[in-house]
């Protein structure tokens, strides 16, 4: 068994699992970055779409509210 890190406290494969998890999270970072760049502002409403509801009891009232 190749020891990648200093030594394991969790068993023979802990080094491998730890590195796999770290790589997976870095992969998720890259994916989140690329996906966000690809979306740009397509998922955000343009000006004027998010308007305040006049009836807070309305179940169809928008969940969005444009601040400015």
């Amino acid at each position: 068994m190749v020891i990648f890190l200093a030594h394991g406290a969790l068993g023979v494969f802990d080094e491998l699992i730890a590195i796999t998890v770290a790589v997976a999270f870095f992969g998720m970072m890259v994916y989140a970055y690329i996906r966000s760049r690809a979306l740009e502002d397509a998922d955000l409403p343009p000006d004027g779409d998010a308007t305040p509801s006049t009836d807070p009891q309305d179940p169809d009232s928008p969940d969005r509210f444009k601040l400015d």
Binding site: A6, G8, A9, A22, M29, P45, P59
Partner: protein
């Protein structure tokens, strides 16, 4: 400014109080037992701990009656939870002090312990004590580390999961939110990253100082920190966290530098920072106490990460919302202000309830690692835990009430309750007050000592047997005599006199036809031989064959022992989950499953599997894995050897081997058999005697016991030069 400072101070305090309870590993078995008075000099002193140690920074030394160090050693990489040292032979009567310096690999805590034993009669000052070598600096950096990570993580998840969906607008190119909101969030993010970086530097200095017992000046001037950074588990996790910080910080610096030309990078940096900071929190769990758990360490580690991540969302998210809201809502008044607030809270509330549920379930699991149900009402730690659980229950109730009231369809049902209590303006501060109480309870829990497990330092008499063979008396003692690491002491006498000899020893497990490697015992003194290993891997019947070659030229002989290895003699390095832990694990798993259900469903749809196909596939994978594991680890022999390989059995078999079987070393199959003997099981040897083997003829006319005698003799003859 003063209000801001007060707010930040309160926020840091609150998050710091969510620190999980820390506890050290502990001694669970000592041979010789602490304070024991022994009749004869022991061959070794060995100590089992509940967690792995950092080998390079953990030491054992034994001081004799005069205070002189007579033996010392470091931990072994192969058995990192054990400190053992071989003692000089024939120790004079007196009391011996054992100094243990322990650096636990899981959390890097360093402890000094003293144990003692006496030979002959107790004399001089013995004593047992524990000195905690961790210093307050460790508390500071651990608190700062979590505070920093939770601030940044809370800001990132609130941006991505709450503020952007609630208030996002394409008119704000850089980040989708008004600049004043983005500025506040950025301040929080950079504050968190800055605190984490400072904590990182302090952590490396403090941990190096603790490992080497040196002050910060020496740590810096001799570059000792570089040794810890590259050669310990703590150092590797430290490196990982620095990479995470560099990656997240780099993304934000790039986004800020290109804000005008590439405003889309801002939102991308905030998106990518969520998994990055979650990994940073996971790195904190890796050097917490969770990996040192004796029950399901991987599960404990995962749930510790889930705990800090959920707490990061809850506490860090609350801080982010409280920090952003005043500025975000400042231009609004009346109904628009209320609607903007509701839009954000409707997003945050369900996540907060889920996070609280996860914090609760994982907290119960983690707490149950260190406290038993019976100790809940009888120990300070248990009482603190109960109080905290009660407060969390109340907090969950109020939070759930708010969550339900945010739904307009349920508003009417709950508006009566909230109206009776004074509306959201009153109940929201109530929730905040309960949250403060919970966090204070967490701080109390952190400061309360963890009760020592009842199985710690239990002792059981070692396994010991005597055998009379050819006029010799052979004794074997296995300490502690349970599955796991054992020390084996073998004595050889003839007529009351110690016998100088060479001794080879081999363990076998007859019901599974498995055998360990043959090992040579170390000579301690004339007639006293010793070794220590992990050969006894499970409870049950084990055979020990000791092949003894006297130095005076007398014929070699075999002493065989049947040892009943009992689980209760084992040093319990692992323990099963309690029902409470199992229940908490189920709840936490359901929570994680719920959180992961959307991406899981998407993957499931993408694979295009039917439910039946997915079920059958899962069942097949589980069945095959289980079958492979059983076949690999514990396959039973076709026929089991019922004859202990004693000298008598070996002598009978050797005679049959040549006279009845006609197996001679000159025959062609003999050397082949000798070569493959170490990997040949008894049932295969049995088959060879019945059917013949590569030029060795079948042994005709033998009954079963005789055939097994031949098998035993084969191992003896082929192993004896």
């Amino acid at each position: 400014m003063r209000r801001t400072a007060a707010f930040v101070s309160l926020a840091l305090l609150l998050i710091a109080l969510t620190l999980p309870a820390q506890a050290h590993g502990f001694l669970i078995r000592a041979v010789p037992p602490d304070g024991a008075v022994l009749d004869r000099s022991p061959a070794r002193a060995q100590y089992w701990f509940s967690e792995s140690l950092e080998p390079a920074f953990s030491r054992i030394s034994v001081r004799g009656p005069g205070g002189v160090v007579i033996a010392e050693a470091e931990a072994d990489l192969d058995t990192p939870s054990i400190l053992a040292v071989r003692l000089p032979p024939d120790l004079p009567d007196g009391t011996y002090l054992v100094d243990l310096r322990l650096a636990f690999a899981s959390d890097g805590h360093v402890i000094a312990e003293s144990r003692s034993f006496s030979v002959g009669a107790a004399s001089g000052a013995g004593g047992t004590g524990t000195e905690n070598l961790t210093d307050p600096t460790e508390t500071v950096w651990r608190a700062a580390m979590l505070v920093g990570l939770m601030l940044s993580f809370g800001a990132a998840v609130v941006y991505n999961g709450v503020l952007l969906p609630a208030w996002g607008s394409a008119s704000h190119k850089a980040g989708g939110l008004p600049p004043r909101v983005m500025h506040r969030l950025s301040v929080l993010m950079w504050t968190g990253l800055g605190i984490t970086l400072a904590a990182q530097i302090l952590a490396l200095l403090q941990q190096t100082s603790a490992f080497f017992g040196a002050d910060f000046g020496v740590v810096l001037s001799d570059r000792l920190w570089e040794v810890v950074r590259t050669s310990t588990r703590f150092g590797q996790v430290w490196n990982l966290r620095m990479i995470v910080l560099a990656a997240v910080g780099g993304l934000f610096i790039l986004a800020a530098a290109n804000r005008a030309d590439q405003p889309g990078w801002v939102r991308a940096a905030w998106s990518a920072s969520v998994p990055g900071l979650a990994l940073g929190l996971a790195a904190s769990s890796m050097i917490s106490h969770a990996p040192g758990s004796r029950a399901e360490p991987w599960t404990a580690l995962f749930l510790d990460w889930a705990h800090v991540t959920a707490a990061g969302f809850w506490a860090g998210g609350l801080v982010a919302l409280a920090w952003v809201m005043p500025v975000a809502l400042a231009p609004l008044t009346g109904e628009p202000r209320r609607m903007a607030l509701l839009a954000a809270l409707r997003r945050y509330s369900p996540y907060a309830v889920g996070a609280l549920a996860m914090v609760t379930a994982s907290g119960v699991f983690s707490a149950a690692l260190w406290v038993r149900p019976a100790e809940l009402t009888t120990t300070p730690y248990g009482l603190a835990l109960l109080v905290k659980v009660a407060m969390v229950g109340a907090l969950l109730f109020v939070g759930a009430l708010h969550h339900a009231a945010l739904n307009p369809q349920r508003w009417a049902r709950f508006s009566g309750i909230t109206g009776h209590l004074g509306g959201f303006n009153r109940t929201l501060p109530t929730e905040a007050a309960l949250a403060v109480l919970v966090l204070v309870g967490a701080g109390w829990l952190t400061a309360t000592p963890v009760p020592v497990p009842p199985d710690a330092l239990t002792t059981a008499p070692p396994l010991a047997q005597l055998a009379e063979v050819e006029g010799y008396t052979v004794g074997i003692t296995a300490s502690p005599g349970g599955p796991g690491f054992n020390t084996f002491d073998l004595s050889v006498e003839r007529g009351g006199e110690s016998v100088e000899a060479a001794v080879m020893m081999q363990f076998s497990r007859p019901n599974l036809d498995q055998r360990a490697a043959r090992v040579a015992l170390d000579r301690l003194d004339a007639g006293a031989y010793e070794t220590a290993n992990l050969d006894l891997s499970a409870p049950g019947l084990w055979w020990l064959s000791a092949d003894i070659t006297p130095a005076d030229g007398a014929p070699p002989f075999r002493a065989a022992f049947a040892l009943d290895v009992r689980a209760e003699n084992a040093v319990p390095l692992t323990i099963p989950l309690t029902p409470l832990q199992a229940a908490a694990l189920v709840v936490a798993t359901l929570g994680v499953g719920y959180a992961a259900s959307r991406p899981a469903r998407a993957a499931y749809r993408r694979l295009g599997l039917t439910p039946q196909a997915a079920f059958v596939l899962g069942l097949a994978v589980v069945a095959q894995t289980s079958q492979d594991y059983s076949a690999t680890v514990a396959s039973a022999p076709d026929v089991m050897n019922p004859i202990l390989p004693t000298q008598d059995s070996v002598t009978r078999g050797a005679a049959l081997l040549t006279e009845t079987c006609g197996w001679l070393s000159e025959l062609p199959g003999w050397s082949d058999l000798q070569t493959r003997l170490p990997r040949t099981r008894d049932d295969e040897l049995y088959a060879f005697t019945r059917d013949g083997f590569r030029g060795l003829p079948p042994c005709e006319g033998l009954d079963d016991p005789q055939r097994w005698d031949v098998v035993n003799a084969l191992r003896w003859v082929l192993n004896t030069p």
